[in-house]
């Protein structure tokens, strides 16, 4: 099928969805293609932080200013997706109070509100903090539901006429004399192929940017950095807890509804889908975060996961080439101005909290080229409050499904997800039924991580004839994916859980190594 559009956006993360919303509100026709489900890259694999900018106040003042200004915008346009937890920057004895001065100066010049707390005040607010702390500074950090944010942008854009193609991967482009005339994409659910004829193409593929640019014949040196995170089985603090020192690994404890997310590491990576968490990273995150909240050393973890950040490499002042030295700001690359491809713009880098600003700048640039003068208004319009229950991989959504808790059949006992909630999600056309339901509900996000409810979900999908292919293979695929997140945290009570689930599937139900028939 051939589709003509003004702007083609590639990538269904926060940036792509934000661009689609901005364009459609300005009245520019656009479509977005995404090879997986929405927010399946870094947008869904992060700590859910609504940064105040404090973390960048010393090292990257420009990013810090962007963060605080967007922090205020998001609190105004997406209050339903945000928990205003506040944040503390905690000074530990081994760090001393030396960094506090620089930090306060940085915050002042970036216009981030601060208040200095004594150790007693900090402990009163956060009793789980180490009693050894030397002091703490309060900043307006918060947490946001990233999946809900992306979904709200998508729905708002759809409302304004944008079209979305999920599970649709670009596999080839038609390039002639530096002009992207056609982009070919294939729907991996239906198998249908599209030939898209755009005026302009926006590359918002995040960690996958290199791959797309290579299709368009462009070489880039986009740096990738893997960050690993751990989820505890309950919430440890009220506020976001940061370490008051230059950014380093294992510095942040982010609450997220009923759990806490500890992070992160920063490891240079070559692979946009490098989601393996190593034992070394796990030990490092626990060792560092436990210095701030000692209880972490004995906590029960339910999952480890990783996201791959795309970073735009700029020379640091010291000339040091560390991954932390790479800017967390964003860049727009106008491939036309670089005489590469005249109708292609790449949007790279940035933070979840600055996604809207990135989209605004990118859309300003493309609107200038196509002669649209309408100004951006995404910062003035509230994002829709959706009935859908979002739930990104590993993250708690803002609105827990309490109201459903005791109504009807409960499919997920850990997170009290009811049959009704799941049925709402099934039957959406163009869905990868199993994984998309997991994406959009709290199912399998609790302590057993889907050990029981995955079988039940599969049964429901079977009843609705909504399973693609062999349902046992889909279930086996889920168990294998689940294992990636669980294997790094297997000790203590988590090993009991592992024995339980392994015995159910491999023993009682006799699932076998995929592809190998029993007795063969």
């Amino acid at each position: 099928m051939e589709i003509r559009t003004e702007i083609l956006i590639i990538g269904g993360g926060a940036t792509g969805a934000g661009i689609a919303r901005d364009l459609s509100i300005r009245g520019v026709p656009c479509i977005l293609v995404e090879k997986g489900d929405l927010a399946s890259g870094a947008s869904g694999r992060n700590q859910g932080l609504l940064h105040s900018g404090g973390r960048y106040a010393v090292s990257d003042p420009h990013t810090a200013r962007e963060c605080i200004s967007e922090n205020r915008v998001l609190r105004a346009i997406a209050p339903h997706l945000i928990e205003e937890t506040g944040g503390l920057f905690v000074s530990l004895p081994e760090d001393g109070l030396g960094f506090q001065g620089e930090f306060l100066d940085g915050c002042r010049s970036a216009e981030i509100e601060t208040s200095v707390l004594t150790p007693a005040e900090a402990l009163e607010r956060e009793p789980n903090l180490t009693p050894d702390l030397l002091g703490a500074i309060e900043v307006p950090d918060g947490v946001i539901d990233p999946f809900g944010l992306v979904l709200a942008n998508v729905r708002d854009a759809e409302h304004h006429g944008a079209r979305f193609f999920f599970h649709t991967e670009v596999f080839s482009v038609g390039l002639s004399r530096g002009w992207l005339g056609k982009v070919f994409a294939k729907d991996s659910v239906s198998g249908e192929e599209y030939s898209i004829v755009p005026s302009y193409v926006m590359n918002a593929t995040g960690a996958w940017a290199n791959q797309f640019l290579r299709l368009a014949g462009i070489r880039t040196s986009l740096a990738l950095s893997k960050g690993s995170m751990l989820i505890t089985n309950r919430r440890l603090t009220r506020a976001v807890i940061n370490r008051c020192r230059p950014a380093s690994d294992g510095d942040i404890i982010a609450p997220n509804d009923t759990v806490s997310i500890l992070g992160t590491t920063s490891v240079g990576s070559q692979d946009a889908a490098d989601f393996d968490v190593t034992g070394e990273e796990v030990s490092q995150i626990i060792a560092e975060t436990a210095k701030m909240v000692p209880e972490i050393a004995g906590a029960r973890f339910i999952r480890a996961y990783a996201g791959v950040r795309p970073l735009f490499r700029v020379a640091t002042e010291t000339g040091e080439e560390s991954d932390r030295g790479v800017s967390r700001g964003f860049a727009l690359i106008d491939h036309g101005a670089r005489n590469e491809v005249s109708n292609l713009i790449t949007v790279i880098g940035g933070k979840l909290v600055t996604y809207r600003l990135m989209a605004e700048k990118a859309v300003d640039l493309v609107c200038g080229k196509i002669g649209v003068a309408t100004p951006c208004s995404t910062h003035l319009r509230t994002l829709p409050d959706l009935e859908e229950e979002p739930g990104p991989p590993g993250l708690m959504p803002h609105a827990h499904g309490q109201e459903y808790a005791f109504r009807g059949t409960v499919i997920c006992d850990c997170e009290l997800v009811s049959r009704d909630q799941i049925e709402k999600q099934i039957g959406h056309k163009k869905m990868r039924a199993f994984t998309d339901v997991l994406h959009r509900t709290r199912l399998a996000k609790g302590t057993c991580q889907g050990g029981f409810c995955a079988y039940r979900l599969m049964a429901m999908l079977d009843e609705k004839h909504a399973v693609e292919g062999d349902s046992r293979e889909v279930l086996e695929g889920f168990l294998e994916e689940r294992w990636k997140g669980i294997r790094p945290i297997l000790w203590g009570t988590a090993v009991k859980e592992a024995e339980l689930i392994e015995t159910i599937y491999k023993d009682v139900l006799n699932f076998h190594t995929p592809g190998v028939e029993p007795g063969a």
Binding site: A459, E480, L490, T503, D507, P518
Partner: protein, 406 residues
């Protein structure tokens, strides 16, 4: 005042502990069996898996070949003869109409709730009609019973699936326990049977999740068969396992005839160890703790799930006696990269001598009068071997024999 002194104290109430206690009690010994919970039996067991990976059609021959090839394996420690006697003792507990039998001389296959077949050895009478193949049967599930999907099971079994609507109990869903109890009530069973019958399309057999009652499963099945007009067989499902609870209850009923002191709930703490012998254990029933003593002890506390083994971030330990645990060198090696790998951690456990006494890495006996039984033993992988019930059954028997013969 009851005496706190016994011939044998068995710690743990899984299949290994139950077997050990029965073995000693049957030999006329004064036995105390203590369990803080009901063990893995009640979660997983349905039919009795002995050595599912065994090829060939004779279990006894297969086991002796296996023993020859695996000298450290718990079956080798138990020995062919005691394995046979253990099986006989287990089977003697189940009198008609609910019995366990071996449909062939070797392994047979039973259908599971995921639509797979699982190799097994002893099959309860409620499952026999499904042995070999469920092809052409009607697989019946119950609406609002989420732990069994008739369609999913039927898909893999080349059968037809049907989900029976029975209304929703108090606006909630059915649990396996609730269904097992309801199905014992004639009005419920009749309604269920009629609904199944209405959906029959000439099938000669009906497969149903393994929840056909706790007390009289054979009778429940028989009456269902009468109403439906076809043979009915049970299919194993997600935990808890009703057939496993039946086994547990049967043992308990036997002990409760005055054969052994049966303590479910209290935990065992702070054993008194002197000169390489256990001289007593503290039985904790808060707020009371009392010292119980015996000539011999059987430790049958299971693996991680039941608390027999404990994993810290650094290593695996045995929490009650602090026994040496055979284990991989580091945590990185515990689990394979794939969920479907045979994980090295499953081979970890307590190493024993030929008398089931715990030994250290030099082969020295650590505790003279303590025997180790069941899944806590090292050098087996019951998931890969499909020996989940066979290991506790044989080693529970063998360890108790060692304890009372010495």
């Amino acid at each position: 005042m009851p005496s706190n002194d016994y011939d044998l104290i068995v710690i743990g109430m899984g299949l290994s502990g139950l077997m050990a206690a029965m073995t000693a009690a049957e030999a006329g010994k004064r036995v105390l069996i203590i369990g803080k919970g009901m063990g893995r039996l009640c979660l997983f067991s349905n039919s009795i898996d002995f050595l599912g990976t065994l090829e060939g059609d004779h279990m006894a021959d297969g086991i002796s070949a296996w023993i020859a090839g695996h000298p450290e394996h718990p079956y080798a420690k138990a020995g062919q003869d005691r394995i046979t006697r253990g099986i006989s003792m287990f089977r003697s507990l189940f009198i008609p109409p609910y019995t366990f039998c071996a449909p062939g001389a070797g392994n047979c296959f039973i259908p599971t709730g995921a639509g797979t077949y699982r190799p097994t050895y002893l099959v309860p009478s409620t499952m026999t009609s499904g042995v070999g193949s469920a092809e052409g049967a009607l697989i019946a599930g119950v609406e609002h019973f989420k732990d069994f999907s008739a369609l999913q099971a039927a898909g893999g079994l080349n059968a037809r699936g049907a989900t029976i609507p029975l209304g929703r109990p108090r606006d909630r869903d059915f649990t396996p326990m609730a269904l097992a109890r309801l199905i014992e009530k004639p009005w419920f069973r009749t309604a269920l049977g009629r609904e199944i019958k209405r959906r029959m399309e000439g099938e000669k057999r009906v497969g149903f999740p393994a929840v056909l009652g706790l007390r009289n499963p054979a009778q429940v099945r028989e009456e269902l068969e009468y109403i439906v007009g076809a043979e009915v067989f049970e299919i194993p499902i997600l935990p808890p396992s009703i057939p496993g609870i039946r086994i547990f209850n049967r043992f308990k009923a036997w002990f409760d005839q005055g054969k052994a002191t049966f303590l479910l709930g209290p935990s065992v703490k702070n054993p008194v160890v002197k000169g390489g012998r256990c001289e007593g254990v503290n039985v904790l029933n808060p707020p009371v703790s009392r010292l119980c003593t015996a000539d011999a002890y059987v430790l049958a506390t299971g693996r991680f799930l039941s608390g027999g083994l404990v994993a810290s971030r650094e290593s695996i330990s045995e929490p009650l006696f602090g026994l040496p645990v055979v284990q991989p060198r580091s945590r990185e090696e515990w689990f394979g990269k794939s969920f479907f790998d045979g994980h090295p951690v499953n081979h970890a456990g307590i190493r024993v001598d030929e008398h089931f006494r715990p030994i250290d890495d030099q082969g020295r006996v650590v505790l003279e009068n303590v025997r180790i039984a069941g899944s806590i033993l090292a050098y087996h992988n019951s998931i890969e071997e499909k020996s989940r019930d066979g290991i506790p059954l044989s080693t529970g028997y063998a360890a108790a024999r060692e304890a009372i013969e010495s």
